[in-house]
Symmetry: C2
Subunit: 297 residues, 2 copies
């Protein structure tokens, strides 16, 4: 199965206000993704609010998600935690549940040195034993991987992929070439930040880790298929159509916008965990207007 | 008791590698502080690695610390958490154990808006009901309070103090005046960042929240007493003597340096929680040399 290539869709994890997972809503979201033909599903990514959920809730979400996916696509699981031993436990939980791979973000409170992050990743990779994707997301983790550190980790058994923030369009091709030249052969270079990710795919990226794809998989599958068959023009045209959504993602964060969209669609009444607040009314109205214009359902 | 004024000392929370609190070592550290006459003790601050400990471990640390302080000084407790409901639970635990006040940092993963942080603080203050200090530490929390937001929160019942990063020397007086002009009367303005905090005290700050004071209270008590009696020259002279330590704090982080110092003194064999690593040998040697030169015991 395609774990770290093509379209990887990241759904929200619907919970009640106490952080208890809504089984029916999560199963519905995951089924929708598998049905649309995404290459993989990323449970408990940042959009899946992994950082805000207990170990029990996370184990439950993985069980529900794997059952709902039902072998139709690969499933990776976010196992980030502030403590190394906790990330190991979360990774073992994911493995025991049958996950195909894990996604590890270097969550931090005390800022980490490169050596500390490296030690953390090597320990977790070795103890968990599943294919591991380095989740490089400086905006949330407050740790930034440079290419040299990624290249060093790409030599480690089980560490087979990175999910990088997509660079600005003009930097996509040179950045990908530079990292490919340093990383182990076959190391997967994937990108997130939906508003820039399509250009990174076109420039040769292996995977698009998508928030939009976690709720509206169809337009994202279409784009990835266009890139795969070499139809760059079609991919860019489809991407351009989604520009109003990318603007909302950048203005209000993709997390808040996608919760509002899931609410508007009636797929889940869940809200993000407090202190994160639902979008205020006027912003929600803008999301509704864009969904209507794009005829996204 | 002086909760948010004078010298507030922040000890480490010694634990084993699984995060279980070492009762004897923590009691020893707290006794040392109370004995030296600090105005207050801040349990489970950033230096107390609150972010890395379970609710049970944090409750245990508070019980041990309060028992060891034995009413000799005020005790505040760090109750930061990513979730609002969790911070409320931690605050109630601290209140039930007999803490005098709480310190709340806006820990974040998804970056918070000002309204989200405000909502978080107002909810926790109201539900916990103890005097609350806003812990403004952008380096670890990745949220920055501006003066307008601090002033807004200073109007909220129970929110009575802020622990701000100390500004550079030339900004101390104007920054303190500007915030005083906006904040509620009597709102306490305290400072952390040991290498700059003495100048903030001299410029009129109410409290010094000190990492060094959490292991070596005596020189810090001396400085605070000099400031209190208006002897700025003596305060600056004592502060200048500590400059070699301030340089180590800035180079390696006060957390890593203070763990190394506690190890070197034989007060605790604990290491910071992984992924944070102990200082490497050469850095540890520099700490040892500075402690020897300053005759700190």
């Amino acid at each position: 199965m395609a774990l770290f290539e093509g379209l990887s869709a990241f759904p929200i994890t619907p919970t009640d206000q106490d952080g208890v997972v809504d089984e029916a809503a999560l199963a519905r979201l995951v089924d929708r993704l598998a049905e649309a033909g995404v290459d993989s599903i990323g449970l408990l990514g940042s959009t899946g609010t992994y950082a805000y959920l207990t170990r029990d809730a996370r184990r439950r979400a993985v069980e529900i998600g794997l059952k709902a996916a039902d072998g139709r696509c690969a499933v990776m699981v976010g196992i980030g935690a502030l403590r190394t031993d906790e990330a190991v436990c979360l990774g073992r939980d994911a493995r025991a549940a049958g996950a195909h791979g894990v996604l590890l973000a270097p969550m931090s409170y005390t800022p980490l040195t490169d050596d500390e992050a490296a030690q953390h990743f090597m320990t977790v990779a070795s103890e968990v034993g599943l294919p591991l994707c380095i989740y490089n997301n400086p905006t949330t983790t407050h740790f930034t991987f440079n290419d040299a550190l990624l290249a060093r980790l790409s030599q480690t058994p089980h560490i087979v992929a990175v999910k990088n923030p997509a660079p600005v369009r003009d930097r996509a091709a040179p950045d990908i070439s530079a990292l490919r030249a340093l990383a182990a052969p076959g190391f997967s270079l994937g990108y997130s930040g939906d508003w820039r990710a399509v250009e990174a795919l076109i420039a040769g990226g292996d995977a698009w880790y998508s928030v939009l794809g976690g709720l509206f998989p169809k337009p994202c599958v279409e784009i990835v298929e266009a890139v795969k068959r070499g139809d760059v023009e079609a991919a860019r045209r489809l991407d351009a159509k989604l520009q109003p959504l990318w603007e909302l993602f950048q203005a209000f964060s993709s997390l808040r916008v996608i919760y509002a969209a899931a609410n508007l669609l009636g797929l889940s009444a869940a809200q993000p965990p407090r202190p994160i607040l639902p979008l205020p009314g006027p912003a929600r109205d803008r999301v509704a207007a864009v969904l209507a214009t794009l005829a996204l359902t």
